[in-house]
Symmetry: C2
Subunit: 100 residues, 2 copies
């Protein structure tokens, strides 16, 4: 199983309503794009100093399913509208995890 | 459920054997420390440019269980020996995910 992990850091002038709208838009991707077996996004809880602001973890059956998601036009449109304009930093990894 | 996500980037002079030993040491944490309901660490698959090198995703029943793990001396010893000396960058988030 392929796990796709992204940690987002938003620009300082990205207000809470915009951050929430961005998370809401990304949260619709399983319905709008699909291909994943699980998908969980949310804001950092503020327990530790120096954290990124938002995490996304999505599991896919295989690399092909992940690539279908990554290159889907509806996905790219959400990134262009809701993510890129507010992004200060982004860190990502795709890695293999045991199928549960 | 609380999800703890860390993306690690290693220094350029951290050779493959050292990276593998670090992952192996972190992979023993569920046995040595415990407290999590799931734990998956692994190296980036190399599918995308600019990614971090290693991802760790661990789920905990609640914040107390996470804090117990985060502050456990055996955990801190693994970080001091296997992570910190090789770390170029680290990005983390703790966030709430639905219990499956």
């Amino acid at each position: 199983m392929l796990r796709h992990v992204v940690l987002f850091t938003w620009t300082e002038d990205t207000d809470p309503a915009t951050r929430a709208a961005t998370i809401a838009a990304l949260r619709r991707l399983p319905e709008e794009v699909g291909g994943m077996t699980s998908f969980a996004i949310g804001p950092d809880l503020g327990l530790r100093e120096g954290n990124a602001h938002t995490a996304l973890v999505a599991d896919f059956p295989d690399e092909e399913a992940y690539r279908g998601y990554a290159t889907d036009e509806r996905h790219l449109a959400v990134i262009a509208e809701h993510v890129t304009p507010h992004l200060a930093a982004r860190s990502a990894v795709q890695y293999e995890v045991p199928t549960p």
